[in-house]
Amino acid sequence: MNQNLRILVVEPDPERVRAIIDALKDAGWSDVKALAHMSALDRTVKEFAPDIVLIDLANPDRDTLEHIFDATETSKRAVALFVDQTDDTLTQAALNAGVSAYVVDGLKMERIKSVLETAIARFKIMRQMQSELDAAKQALEDRKTIDRAKGILMRQRGLSEEDAYNLLRKTAMSQNRKVIDVALALVTAAELLL
């Protein structure tokens, strides 16, 4: 799961950056970029497009980062937060809340791998759920459009429901299009004409 994951570390202290990058590399993540100053944050987030951003909980640049994410595609990014004390209740609460914020003990580098893996797994589940939800919503919309198209055919051409659907399907197949596209075209045309 570690391959091709771009990680951005926002941290002003160079020694800490080195320690974090070493720990990440040991854990199998090599596509890592470190950033010390917020002035380059906006550009870096856009160009490097990190999958996950590591930032200290105490770092005031967090608000800047959040704004940049708001302006881009928030839901596709994860933010991991470092705190100096291990606080498992907080970690758990953050995970349960389903936020893209995860807490890592910044001083115990040997824990980075396990905590990041949990964070990323959780993040993937959230993303999966979101895309399933989007897909379900779309399916519902498509269904409505197809029903309306069937209704138009039934009224205008006196077809049964089954025949109306078959006509849609046949037309779609013969034109190498999806049923939903044909239905949508029909509904749009009907709206213009009727």
């Binding site: 909980l57 770092n59 967090r62 608000d63 704004h67 708001d70 609460a93 809340a97 914020a101």
Partner: protein, 379 residues
């Protein structure tokens, strides 16, 4: 008597004064509260800690509970506004370079400033704001929305870094809470052009917020916190207490700022340009008078509408404002209550007497710079 421990988050700005005074002058202890003020490094961190239950209550930017209730940005959580902690108190400043372009614009003239900024050769202005869901950002958008030629790029900058951001040329201007405007002037990198009240004369700036489910389970602790903060705000607004307030805040471990940085906000004597005499700004930062602590539902509605919420969102924003608790918890200690919980925002151009539980109360002007009014009660 054992005291109830209450963890309250704050960000070290001058307007966290009601919380510091409630603790340091013993208003919290009188209410049987051991008020533990927990400093937060950023607004995002404060919001997360509150939402995750690590804080019982917190000082928040007034748009934060509204945004969270509607579901904008960050953690989804139901957070209530218990009362307003401060009204106004922000400044808008520009870099010395931009100031030189603008020529003579009278301090505090929002319309003239907008014209002068629009007339610059470079139509783009990068403006530093502390947080996306802040009154600073909303006032900036509202103010510049009538100047289509002016291109505003909003950049979130942590307030303690605002002066450096201007010095480095990272931003051309900023909208920030004190002391950070005065700090930028002190370092001779910027000039202050107006204050927040020049755009909206009575803008709720910080609020006392708590999670809805925490409030439901801790009505008594919430009531005691509200009473302690109310008393602290009354103490702070008494002019004779200002010098002592500056001393207490400067000495307190909570702010770590020198007295000369705290004084401008509390006294209203603002130095707008390096090495010049201060300008007195009336009602620069208000804690108590004119029902400043009352959380008007119409203020939350205005915030929601500026955030682009629809009718349902505005309803949610108004529902997170606990005027019911304010009335219930503060009537017993002498707080005068307005007759209504909504007002027509922007309608008052002068101090105006309105109906209240004790007969009448004086409300301060709340007009917008462009004279618009917002009536959310008609629905």
């Amino acid at each position: 008597m054992s005291q109830t421990v209450l963890n309250c988050g704050y960000v070290p700005l001058v307007d966290c004064a009601p919380l510091v005074i409630a603790k340091e002058l013993g208003f919290a202890a009188e209410e049987g509260l051991a008020l533990n003020l927990v400093r937060q490094p950023s607004w995002s961190a404060l919001r997360d800690m509150l939402a995750l239950g690590h804080l019982d209550a917190a000082q928040m930017l007034s748009p934060m509970p509204v945004a969270m209730s509607i579901g904008f940005g960050g953690l989804p959580a139901q957070v209530d506004t218990l009362m307003v902690l401060s009204v106004n108190g922000t400044v808008f400043g520009v870099s010395n370079d931009v100031a030189a372009d603008l020529g003579a614009v009278p301090f505090g003239d929002a319309k003239a400033l907008l014209s002068a900024l629009s007339a610059r050769k470079d139509a783009k202005l990068r403006v530093g704001v502390p947080f996306h869901y802040s009154m600073h950002r909303l006032l900036l958008s509202y103010w510049t929305s009538i100047a289509p030629d002016l291109q505003i790029e909003e950049i979130t900058v942590p307030p303690p870094r605002m002066a450096d951001a201007v010095a480095d040329g990272f931003v051309d201007a900023f909208w920030v809470g004190e002391p950070w405007g005065s700090v930028a002037v002190g370092q001779n990198v910027a000039q202050l052009m107006m204050t927040g009240k020049d755009v909206w004369q009575f803008a709720p700036e910080k609020v006392l917020a708590a999670r809805h489910d925490w409030v439901e389970g801790h009505e008594d602790a919430a009531a005691r916190l509200m009473r302690a903060v109310f008393k602290a705000s009354a103490w702070l607004d008494a002019r004779k207490n200002t010098p002592l307030a500056v001393e207490i805040l400067a000495r307190s471990e909570h702010l770590s700022m020198s007295p000369d940085l705290i004084d401008p906000a509390l006294s209203g004597d603002i130095v707008t340009k390096h090495n010049t005499a201060p300008t007195h700004v009336g009602r620069f930062l208000q804690f108590h008078k004119h029902a400043a602590t009352f959380p008007w539902r119409s203020q939350a509605a205005w915030i929601a509408s500026q955030l682009g919420a629809d009718g349902a969102g505005i309803e949610k924003a108004m529902a997170c404002v606990r005027t019911d608790l304010y009335r219930q918890n503060l009537a017993g200690i002498g707080a005068d209550m307005p007759g209504a919980s909504e007002k027509k925002e922007g309608a008052l151009h002068f101090e105006t007497a309105v109906a209240s539980t004790r007969g009448h109360m004086i409300l301060a002007p709340d007009a917008f710079f462009n004279g618009r009014t917002f009536d959310f009660s008609s629905k």
